[in-house]
């Protein structure tokens, strides 16, 4: 298996934004097929003969799997039709079929940008459905679904001095950034502080050390919880000592919620919260926007004609699932937008921001919205 860094060298286009689309022959064919109700046939046969070219779906073939740590694997993928590369820091929605049901999760792209290849680095979450399935069942040669890269956790255009604060699997988006900067020789002054449980839990630790050795503009510090000299774990004062100009830098953080909350508090207290970019892998503690778990709200699903009861104290997605509905969704935390649907009427509040949407015909994300009133949704 080629080390991910060789891909970095082969990176052909660090795409930032997608170029306007040209109408290709295949698109014209797809349109004609649709006119004649032959689009299903077209999709079937293309998928049968060359799966990665399947129209209307973005697929990728697993080209390599390697162990990063005892509980983390990197899957390298050859992306199919439609993949336009990614900007370091962005994620893709991976979908796989588990026991007949399609499941979608976000994974940050951990490789440097490429128009053909990408890798994702997945840590087992205890009891987690998809992460464990990927570890236990995904094989080289298998085909999985991906989505165009998305997300705003990206480097600013004019960043000279950077600070990466990563913990655990939260290293993945910053790994992509570091690999990209290394491949382009673009480090000016970057510090990466990476927190992990032990030396065995460092993802790509050797590679990061090597990059640091080769690039004078990149300083890499690994901090382990199990360090015997008392320097382990996250500590505000030690971080400040290590990187005295931390608040002047464009800072990035990603890791477990507890650590991120503390980092966030530091930047907030210093009054420079806007200089800190965050990527959360899990839903932050819900802001309590007055949701009452004892209030029942009825939700009319206008497409299916069914009605379900949800409470004010849960997300609409969770409530609908409890009622036996299976609405489309992805990350369950307001990021991937796969659960977005039209709210025909009623009032909902965003449980992350507390924002209220009470005008009719607005699009809402049901995974981070709770019902303030009875609702009608175009589901």
């Amino acid at each position: 298996m080629p080390a991910p860094s060789t891909q970095a060298a082969a990176s052909d286009l660090p795409t930032t934004r997608r170029a306007p689309k040209r109408t290709s022959f295949s698109e014209a064919a797809a349109r004609a097929a649709q006119r004649l109700h032959l689009d299903r046939q077209l999709r079937f046969w293309v998928h049968e003969l060359s799966p990665l070219s399947t129209p209307d779906r973005m697929l990728a073939r697993v080209t390599g799997i390697h162990d990063e740590t005892h509980d983390t694997k990197t899957f390298t993928l050859r992306a199919g039709r439609g993949w336009q590369g990614h900007t370091p820091g962005q994620f893709t929605n991976v979908d796989v079929e588990i026991d007949g049901v399609r499941q979608t999760r976000c994974y940050s792209v951990s490789s440097a940008p490429s128009s053909r290849h990408l890798s994702i680095t997945v840590k087992r979450v205890s009891g987690g459905l998809v992460s464990n399935w990927l570890h236990d069942h995904l094989q080289v040669g298998d085909i999985i679904g991906i989505s165009p890269a998305d997300g705003d956790f990206v480097l600013p255009d004019d960043a000279a001095t950077l600070l990466f604060i990563a913990a655990g699997s939260g290293i993945t988006p910053m790994l992509s950034m570091a690999r990209d900067l290394a491949a382009r020789g673009a480090f000016e002054d970057t510090v990466m502080v990476y927190y992990a449980r032990s030396a065995d839990d460092l993802i790509a630790g050797d590679e990061l050390s090597r990059i640091a050795a080769e690039h004078s503009g990149f300083r890499y510090v690994a901090i382990r919880d199990d360090a015997h000299d008392g320097t382990g774990g996250f500590d505000e004062a030690r971080l400040r000592d290590m990187v005295p100009d931390l608040f002047d830098r464009a800072a990035f953080t990603c890791g477990p919620a507890g650590l991120m909350d503390r980092v966030e508090a530091m930047w907030r207290d210093a009054g420079v919260e806007s200089r800190l970019q965050r990527e959360r892998f899990t839903l932050p503690t819900l802001t309590d926007a007055g949701g009452d778990p004892n209030v029942e709200r009825s939700v009319v699903l206008t497409s299916s004609g069914r009605t379900a009861e949800v409470t004010g104290g849960e997300t609409i997605l969770a409530g609908l699932e409890r009622a036996g509905e299976k609405p489309a969704h992805g990350c369950r935390m307001g990021i991937c937008k796969m659960c977005r649907c039209r709210k025909v009427s009623g009032s909902v509040r965003n449980v992350v921001t507390g924002e209220i949407s009470d005008a009719p015909d607005q699009d809402i994300q049901i995974c981070i919205s709770a019902a303030n009133s009875d609702l009608a949704l175009a589901l």
Partner: protein, 372 residues
């Protein structure tokens, strides 16, 4: 795959259930449903995908034989393969996907909201009229418009009118043009009055159908023949035979599902405020099964298990044979007739009714029992 045993002990006329009995009956069927839903998984998806694969390969093979073949043998084989593919697509694949039987997979290819079958009847229209009117109001005279498709008199409860005299012939015409019959039926063509408003309303609700019909006709009778160049007439004829064959087959299967001997027709009053258990009983008494092997069931889209389909329209149809024995056993305990017979007998029963009810009578004040 097993065949259902015809049980001579089984009741042929259902008893009326008391309210408590109906509730218990409904609870047993609900439990059966929950058990199957909990068990859905990979094998169900694998099944429908393999049928889709068969359907696609037989369509491609059939069209290739029609387009490139020479002589009658390749024509017959080609038209046959295309017919099989069209039947699979409409019955086991399209009908069942559009019922939402595979929505739980979250696979867009199997999604009831977006699937549109290879049929003149537009998915939007069908989903409303079939999924809603027919499945909810099954066999309620005046509500379920599928009773005789507004054209045929198939029960004594339907009022006779002189047009029924020619219904043996109208039935044959309906059978050969069945997809167009269903499409027109779903558009309520029979309700159009000779005034501008009514005709405009028909035009409005026909839009999805007109678009669909245009494309369907263009595909089979312009696009593929044109592609075949010199073989155009062959391709045209082959496509026509395939559509015709599918029409006859679906007509036969569907009429056997609701109109053989022993199937009961309900009045609106009987069904007012009915409980879930009573609704289940009506579904059973208003439907009939056809016996056959695994291949036969697949070719009917498992509508040969019309009873199970009407009880559980959203459970993947390939599960029906597996639950039929249990449904039959529950029915027996509650004294509900479980109408199942061979294709020949059920079809014979339908034919007899179409002939018998072409003539007026027999007059009966109120329908409660079956005619058999």
């Amino acid at each position: 795959m097993f065949r259902l045993q015809r049980n001579t002990q089984a009741p042929t006329i259902s008893v009326e259930l008391s309210e408590e009995e109906a509730d218990a009956f409904g609870a047993e069927l609900d439990a059966l449903r929950a058990e199957i839903v909990a068990d859905l998984g990979q094998s169900d998806v694998d099944h429908i995908r393999s049928i889709i694969r068969w359907c696609q390969y037989s369509e491609a093979g059939g069209r290739a034989l029609l387009h490139f073949g020479i002589g009658p043998l390749s024509f017959v084989l080609g038209a046959g393969a295309l017919t099989v593919s069209k039947i699979l697509e409409n019955m086991e694949i399209g009908h069942n996907i559009m019922h939402g039987q595979y929505d739980w997979t979250r696979d867009p290819e199997l999604d009831s909201g977006t699937y549109d079958w290879d049929n003149a009847c537009a998915a939007e229209n069908w989903q409303h009229y079939h999924n809603f009117e027919h499945h909810k109001y099954t066999n309620i005279l005046g509500k379920d418009r599928d009773i005789g498709y507004g054209l045929l008199r198939v029960s004594e409860e339907q009022e006779w009118n002189p047009s029924h005299l020619v219904q043996p012939i109208s039935a044959l015409i309906l059978a050969s043009l069945f997809q167009w019959g269903v499409a027109a039926h779903d558009l309520h063509v029979d309700e159009v009055r000779p005034n501008r408003k009514s005709v405009m309303a028909l035009y409005e609700r026909s839009r999805p159908f007109l678009k669909k019909a245009r494309r369907q006709l263009a595909k089979d009778y312009l696009f593929f023949p044109a592609l075949a160049l010199a073989n155009a007439p062959r391709v045209f004829a082959g496509n026509m035979i395939a559509n015709f064959g599918r029409n006859l087959w679906t007509f036969a299967v569907i009429f056997c599902g609701h109109f053989p001997d022993g199937v009961r027709i309900y009045s609106e009053e009987e069904c007012e405020n009915e409980s879930r258990g009573q609704w289940y009983a009506r579904q059973i008494n208003g439907s009939a099964n056809i016996e056959g092997g695994r291949l036969f069931h697949i070719m009917t889209g498992h509508l040969s298990h019309q009873i199970e389909h009407h009880l559980f329209p959203q459970i993947p149809a390939a599960r029906y044979p597996q639950i039929a024995e249990r449904v039959q056993e529950i029915c027996e305990r509650y004294g509900q007739a479980y109408n199942t017979d061979s294709f020949g007998s059920q079809l014979g029963g339908v034919a007899r009714k179409i002939l018998r009810y072409a003539l007026p009578g027999p007059a009966r004040p109120q329908a409660t029992a079956a005619t058999a």
